[in-house]
């Protein structure tokens, strides 16, 4: 398959992720959109790793997954904590801090 297919797919994933982050109000969905963005990048890494015939990109994906996991841990913990305190995690309900 030509590289452009992977690039287009990953760009689409990234764009959907960005839109999700911007438009959605549920932090869990936002969170998933973020993961989508990360994985769009992962796709680029893997695709180019194959294209350039080097392993660096594949390796990088490992690290990205690990950091993503660390972020998941922090993010979920935060959301649980907020949900338990406020019984909602809707971002629109977050109005304590005036912007």
């Amino acid at each position: 398959m030509p590289m452009s297919y992977y690039l287009i797919l990953s760009a689409a994933m990234f764009a959907i992720g960005v839109l999700g982050v911007i438009l959605r109000r549920n932090p869990l969905v936002v969170f998933m959109s973020l993961e989508l963005m990360f994985n769009a990048a992962n796709l680029v890494f893997v695709a180019f790793s194959a294209y350039h015939q080097i392993l660096d990109g594949d390796l990088f994906v490992f690290f990205v997954m690990t950091t993503a996991a660390a972020e998941v841990a922090v993010g979920l913990a935060l959301m649980v904590a907020i949900f338990r305190a406020k019984r909602t995690i809707d971002l629109d309900e977050m109005s304590m801090l005036k912007g």
Binding site: L34, M37, F38, F45, L59, A70, E71, G75, I82, L97
Partner: protein
């Protein structure tokens, strides 16, 4: 496998980071056995750890080298900034010890998390490979997400943490995607190899530019540059105040560091393409940051917007990075400015912490009425910080701005410098409001007396004024620091 997998020199070169991390782990464990009432021991140990690391870092000054298969670089630039981070760490320890106790936030994680974040900053400054850049960025950010939400019983704190988390991760995704594209374009993530490939013309240029632009956007997020600034005031307001100060100073410095490291080392050829983007971001950041600050009555938010605008000043000099004649100047100016900004901002936050009450009140501008009259030392210190942030002579802030503007003018961006100067004028207005409150209104301010806080406030004020008399030495240091960068 590469044959030279690892050797001793790798560890020697990264000794500061290793020291810091080992110390952090020890702190984490030690804290478990320190009884509740005696957490001062942990704070003292944390300070000791930072001091030890500082010693190790300083022992590297003058030297340089690459470690772990060109993943990590040690040079003057890194040493300068590492010292800055470690000083920040020490200051934050001084700021937080009493604060954590009275806010009932004494958690064992605090200092280790801060250590991790500092280690991340050091790594991001020393990263010589985009993989390292991303990892280090995350390494510095993730502990901060937690620190921002440390005051769990306050919904604001958690909100700020969540916001910081979501937007921080968002920006990381931009950086990551940019790295991925650059990897695609050049088949490498090593900064040295990228520039080499660019020199050979062996790359996919549109992809390369897109990648660099995405990275710039991601870094702009970390720097809280307009239009990616919205998180900063909310996060600074919600986070425990010492953490806010840490974010305002050290994180900003790290953002600048990584920006310079990556763009100067790997993308000097893209300066022409990046300049309009950088120009726009810098101009907007300076103007909007300052304009929005005018409306603030909460000191934490005010300082947040102020720090946004200072990011703009720094970016102003960054626009010139591609011009080899001025790049050195610009970077030296930025490094100098960072030092000035660090001293000044920490001082200002120390005053904010002094005035903050145990119920998280005392952050409004009105709470500062009469402060300078009742507590002259604190008031004069805050005056010095406000003047330094405005850029009035006889403060470090003046020199910092002068050097930044000088570099910008030298690079031919006179209009940008003009915007910067006008936004300084705007900033004078709200900085003066604080001064007016403290000295020209009467009130019954209440402050928290704590030796360490006062030490930070007064010490920073003396440093801001004192060092402004001999800016040459610091500028020399900064200039030496950047020699290695180009």
């Amino acid at each position: 496998m590469r044959s030279d997998a690892m050797n001793l020199s790798d560890f020697i070169l990264t000794l500061p980071i290793i020291t810091l991390l080992v110390w952090a782990l020890l702190l984490l464990v030690v804290d478990l056995w320190v009884p509740k009432g005696r957490k001062g021991i942990v704070a003292a140990l944390a300070a000791l750890g930072l001091a030890v690391t500082m010693g190790v870092t300083l022992s590297q000054s003058g030297g340089s080298g690459l470690a772990f298969q060109n993943m990590i670089i040690v040079d003057g630039f890194a040493v300068y900034l590492n010292v800055l981070y470690l000083v920040s760490g020490l200051v934050v320890v001084a700021l937080s010890h009493d604060y954590l106790k009275r806010m009932n936030l004494e958690r064992g994680e605090f200092y280790p998390l801060m250590f991790f974040s500092i280690a991340g900053m050091m790594l991001v400054t020393q990263a010589y490979n985009l993989i390292m850049v991303f990892l280090a960025l995350e390494f510095l950010s993730i502990p901060l997400y937690v620190l921002a939400g440390l005051a769990r019983e306050r919904p604001e704190s958690e909100e700020s943490s969540l916001k910081y988390f979501l937007l921080g991760t968002f920006s990381s995704a931009f950086v990551l995607y940019g790295i991925a594209l650059i990897f695609g374009a050049t088949a490498t993530t090593s900064l040295a190899l990228i520039i080499e490939r660019v020199g050979q013309g062996a790359l996919n240029l549109p992809l390369f530019i897109a990648g660099a632009a995405l990275m710039l956007v991601g870094f702009a997020f970390k720097l809280a540059a307009v239009p990616f600034h919205e998180w900063a005031p909310d996060v600074y307001q919600g986070a425990p105040t010492p953490v806010s100060s840490f974010m305002a100073v050290a994180v900003k410095a790290a953002g600048v560091a990584v920006l310079l490291r990556v763009f100067l080392t790997a993308f000097p050829s893209l300066a022409a393409e990046m300049a309009p983007l950088g120009w726009g971001i810098a101009a907007l950041t300076m103007l909007i940051g300052n304009l929005l600050a005018i409306a603030q009555t909460n000191l934490k938010r005010l300082l947040a917007y102020s720090s946004i605008s200072h990011g703009g000043y720094l970016l102003m000099a960054f626009v010139a990075y591609g011009n080899p004649q001025v790049a050195g100047q610009a970077v030296a100016a930025m490094l100098f400015y960072l030092l000035a900004y660090t001293l000044t901002t920490f001082g200002a936050w120390a005053v904010v912490i002094s005035v903050e009450q145990n119920d998280y009140q005392g952050l409004e501008l009105d709470d500062y009425a009469g402060l300078g009259l009742k507590y002259p030392w604190l008031g004069v210190a805050m005056l010095v910080f406000m003047l330094s942030l405005t850029g009035i002579p006889l403060t470090m802030g003046f020199w910092g701005k002068l050097f930044l503007f000088r570099a910008t003018v030298d690079a031919g961006y006179v209009e940008l410098a003009l915007i910067g100067l006008l936004s300084s004028l705007i900033s004078a207005y709200y900085y003066l409001r604080v001064v007016v409150m403290m000295f020209m209104r009467s009130g019954e301010p209440r402050i928290r007396r704590d030796g360490w806080l006062s030490l930070v406030a007064v010490g920073s004020a003396l440093a801001v004024v004192g060092l402004s008399l001999l800016p040459n030495q610091i500028l020399q240091m900064a200039a030496q620091a950047i020699l290695s960068l180009q």
